[in-house]
């Protein structure tokens, strides 16, 4: 049963999946702390238009996704002062982008399979080049998040005091959304546009209910994301159901009891 690891597409899937899991688990902690989970979800849908546009002009979808999500992420950061009240604006832009994505896919005239893989992920069909791209962006995101960890957390919890203490609160907020954009673009390869919550929010949400200190919560979140991804890929490779189904189900099965058992806290 472990013979599956000799196939290069399985190795690729585990490599890319692991990088995406670490990034998703890490970013997710801050997404929840900053109350930006909807923005993360919306960015993935905006990325759909980018991926479709990239297909249309014949380049790797990841670049279209990165371009669209980074512009949108920076836009949310610059224009959204009270982000919690920006959800309607974000939602309307998001649906416009989904509409554009549908148009691009129709114009592309290609296989519906492409649209399907953007929506639901293509981890088992990922190329060595995509693994490399994922690795490069993944490491860059992890390094950047590590570098801004303390001031970002401080300004997420207590922006006024952080500003008084000299933390560049606003710039950090915009930079963080750009990192989210990169994380979202990467995660789409594994779980697709529609299931981004599964990797970006699911592990962090469960972790933050179990562990109450920042470093512990981040480590737990990354650990859970890795476990979901590995188990999902393994089950999909040995069975015949899609990876996305397994990861989403595992995420739910872990979160449900955690949420119920910690409900009264």
């Amino acid at each position: 049963m472990f013979s599956i690891f000799q196939y290069s597409f399985i190795q690729n899937a585990f490599l890319a999946g692991s990088v995406v899991a670490v990034v998703g688990g890490f970013v997710g902690y801050f997404l929840i702390t900053r109350g930006l989970t909807f923005a993360g979800h919306a960015l993935s849908h905006i990325g759909f238009a980018g991926a479709a546009a990239a297909l249309l002009i014949g380049i790797d979808p990841i670049f279209g996704m990165l371009a669209f999500t980074i512009i949108a992420g920076a836009g949310i950061g610059v224009f959204g002062k009270e982000l919690r009240e920006e959800d309607i604006n974000i939602g309307i832009v998001m649906t416009l982008m989904l509409g554009l994505g549908a148009l691009f896919i129709a114009l592309y005239n290609g296989y519906a399979e492409q649209a399907y893989s953007i929506l639901f992920g293509t981890i088992l069909g990922i190329s060595r080049t995509d693994v490399l791209i994922t690795l490069i962006f993944g490491i860059a995101t992890i390094v950047a998040l590590t570098a801004i960890f303390r001031p970002l957390l401080f300004s997420s919890v207590d922006p006024e005091v952080a500003e008084a203490r000299g933390v560049p609160v606003r710039a950090l907020g915009i930079f963080f959304l750009i990192l989210v954009a990169v994380a979202v673009s990467m995660s789409v390869e594994v779980v697709g546009v529609l299931l981004i919550f599964t990797l970006l929010v699911g592990p962090a949400a469960a972790a933050m209910r179990i562990v109450h200190n920042p470093l512990g919560a981040v480590a737990t979140s990354i650990g859970l994301a890795l476990a979901y991804t590995w188990l999902g890929i393994f089950l999909a490779a040995t069975g015949s159901w899609p990876v996305t189904f397994y990861i989403a189900t595992i995420s739910f099965v872990v979160y449900l009891p955690v949420r119920l058992l910690t409900a009264r806290r």
Binding site: T146, R150, L153, F154, V157, V161, N213
Partner: protein, 256 residues
């Protein structure tokens, strides 16, 4: 005496848009003083803190903190803004919140050290919050959270504490506890405290002086001198009556 002045405003005017928040305000605060700041909403109490923190420049006049122009990130000032309720779902312990005051502005992850832990423990003990050091902040009461915010402001061993409405959301007993705590800290550390409040009464035994702000102007002095019908009527430019009864002060005819 000159060297004992820690805060001084000299003819400070602040205009935001077409609104004049401060109109030629001048006053000095001495080392170790406990100043209560009172006045209606929008009178510029928070603006004053922003001036002292270097987050805002005056349109006219001079602001000096410890003899220098205020600058952001000054560890000599501990600041606790108007109380915000820390959310339940944050994965943060009480000691993490206090730790922000120490090194939250530094880059990197910061894995902590024994020395850091000791500093945090010491300041938590000082504000009588050590017993819930490892509790999740979202589950602490308003008074407990307020102690943490004071500890966070204290941890850099500042010369000045700026506290914006630390007593709001607290019942009278808890407010009294916080004031006693602050009075002791002020004496022990010789730290100057400026505290914004909407009620003078719990502060009467503690405050050396009162800074009353209204309509761009201010009046400063001992509570008995400032909180009087004559001074407040002049400040508000309308008839205000101050009634003293049973050790309490009631201001009638104006929103304070």
């Amino acid at each position: 005496m000159e060297t004992n002045i820690v805060i001084s405003l000299d003819g400070v005017t602040v205009e935001l848009g077409d609104r004049t928040i401060f109109d030629a305000v001048s006053f000095d605060v001495q080392k170790g003083e406990f100043v209560a700041i009172l006045g209606p909403n929008g009178a510029g109490k928070t603006t004053l803190f922003k001036l002292l923190l270097g987050l805002l420049k005056p349109t006219k006049g001079k602001v000096r903190v410890l003899g220098a122009v205020p600058h952001r990130g000054d560890g000599n000032i501990g600041y606790a803004p108007q109380h915000r309720v820390l959310e339940t779902d944050l994965a943060l312990r009480a000691r993490d919140v206090v730790g922000f005051g120490l090194d939250g502005n530094k880059w990197g992850i910061g894995f902590g050290s024994r020395k850091r832990d000791e500093l945090i423990n010491a300041v938590l003990k000082e504000v009588d919050a050590y017993q819930f050091a490892d509790a999740a902040v979202g589950h602490l009461s308003g008074g407990e959270q307020q102690r943490l915010l004071i500890a966070q402001a204290l941890i850099t061993d500042p010369k000045i504490l700026l506290l914006d409405e630390p007593l709001s959301n607290l019942d009278i007993n808890h407010a009294q506890e916080i004031i006693t705590l602050l009075t002791n800290i002020s004496k022990r550390r010789e730290v100057t405290i400026m505290l914004v409040s909407h009620d003078i009464n719990p502060l009467l035994p503690a405050a050396n002086r009162v800074l009353y702000m209204a309509h761009g102007h201010s009046a400063m002095g001992a509570p008995d001198e400032v909180v009087t019908s004559a001074t407040l009527s002049k400040l508000y430019d309308t008839k205000v009556e101050v009634i003293r009864s049973g050790g309490h002060v009631f201001v009638v005819g104006a929103e304070i």
